[in-house]
């Protein structure tokens, strides 16, 4: 059994860890709340965008666009969004597993896989595995602003239009609700898959409203489709980064809460053990005194 001094030291060390985890929990909770509000208030925009996408894909005469058609490129690209910091449970592990699926898929299809990364934890994992990184996004923290997202989107659409990549997916942790968030790949290009995703996840689509043919279009259908596709790509990139940041902070809140609870439990147990040892010492000293007194009598 550890001595009283060791018990006290251990209790102090655990109390310090508890303070750190509690602080991290509070910081993550505050970040999570800000991101959750942004996620919540953007839901209407994505529903309206889904309505627009629904109209475009239900046109009687299909609209052709290079972003919606598959190309023959032998390169696939994935953007992997992980975290810059640890202590967020299995958040990064799930992303690694999802990335593994893409590596195997590219191998099976005999295609090259370009990996674009956000998050130091993913970077170190890929370096450890000896995988080549095409680009690291480090010019923003957690969520890019709209200009940065535009640039990312326009760079990839440019590559797709030139036939340099034939696929673009974003591996990220998607946030569905407080109780549900999991690692997923959102296919961005070809854009038809993104439209499928937008229309199936939307909570409000009214197919009984006017059909595509009822609308006057300005400019023409091709231009509208092209601009709408670019809008979907640009805004989906922001949405993926926001979902990932939201899920990361939520994962950290849960992990830190559990760590704080465990540390608190350990402090309580060490307190009991310390008190027991202290009481044992006092009892021993009392017995010594009473024994000495009796011996003197």
């Amino acid at each position: 059994m550890a001595g009283m001094r060791q018990l006290l030291q251990r209790k102090k060390a655990v109390a310090n860890i508890c303070k750190v985890t509690r602080t991290m929990e509070m910081i993550s909770t505050s970040r999570y709340k800000g991101l959750y509000d942004a996620w919540n208030s953007s839901a209407g925009f994505y529903n309206s965008l889904a309505q627009l996408a629904y109209l475009l894909i239900t046109a009687e005469a299909p609209i052709s666009n290079p972003l919606a058609e598959e190309n023959e490129s032998d390169t696939m690209a994935v953007i992997v969004i992980g975290s810059n910091r640890g202590l967020c449970g299995g958040y990064n592990n799930n992303i690694h597993k999802m990335l593994e699926v893409h590596i195997k898929r590219a191998k099976r299809l005999n295609k090259k896989l370009d990996i674009y990364v956000y998050g130091r934890k993913i970077v170190s994992h890929l370096k450890y595995r000896g995988l080549k990184i095409a680009k690291i996004f480090d010019e923003f923290e957690e969520v890019p602003d709209y200009k940065q997202a535009w640039k990312i989107a326009d760079d990839f659409t440019g590559l797709y239009e030139k036939g340099k990549i034939g696929y673009l997916g974003i591996v990220h942790t998607r946030f569905f609700s407080v109780a549900s968030h999991r690692a997923q790949t959102l296919t961005i290009l070809p854009v038809t898959e993104l439209i499928d995703d937008l229309t199936t996840r939307a909570t409000a689509i009214w197919p009984w409203e006017n059909s595509f043919e009822d609308f006057e279009l300005t400019p023409g259908a091709q231009d509208i489709f092209d601009s709408a596709a670019r809008m979907m790509i640009r805004t989906s990139i922001v949405s993926c980064f926001r979902d990932a940041a939201l899920s990361e902070n939520l994962a950290r809140v849960v992990a830190m809460k559990s760590a704080t609870d465990n540390a608190q439990k350990m402090i309580d147990e060490l307190g009991v053990e310390y008190n027991r040892a202290r009481q044992g010492q006092i009892t021993g000293e009392l017995l010594d005194i009473t024994g000495g007194v009796e011996a003197m009598n």
Partner: protein, 149 residues
Amino acid sequence: MSISLGTFRFVLQTPSAQLLDCRAGFINVPAHDGQMGILRNHMPILCKLGLGILQVKDIVYEKGRPGKDKFFLVDGGFAKVSENNVIVLAYNVESFEGMEMSEVEAIISNSKKLLAGDKYAQQAKKHDIEKASVFIQLAKTAGLIKDSH
């Protein structure tokens, strides 16, 4: 003087927030090829937006509460008009509403500096220059500066 023939629902959304959801009597959207006015019973239209000023007039909130006219700077997006529902989806929307006068003056001053810049800078920042010009127009339309300012 109001030119309203009745109101319609108007929603202004960006990827980060829903900025307005109200009934309006008239809106003027910056379409890709110029301003486009919309009144009640407008035909269904899908329109690409450019850079310009979005005006929302004769605003009526819930329970018939009237609101002040609103002016926004819109930089690209879409407007969808269908069955007296107008939805504007915009990438980026800016407004002077709720700003301190000092902030407004700083924006206008920056915009003027950009507009007065040398030709090379004007070429390099073409979109920013256009936006600066729209900012000044927005300030004039919202009555924050006079035409001669």
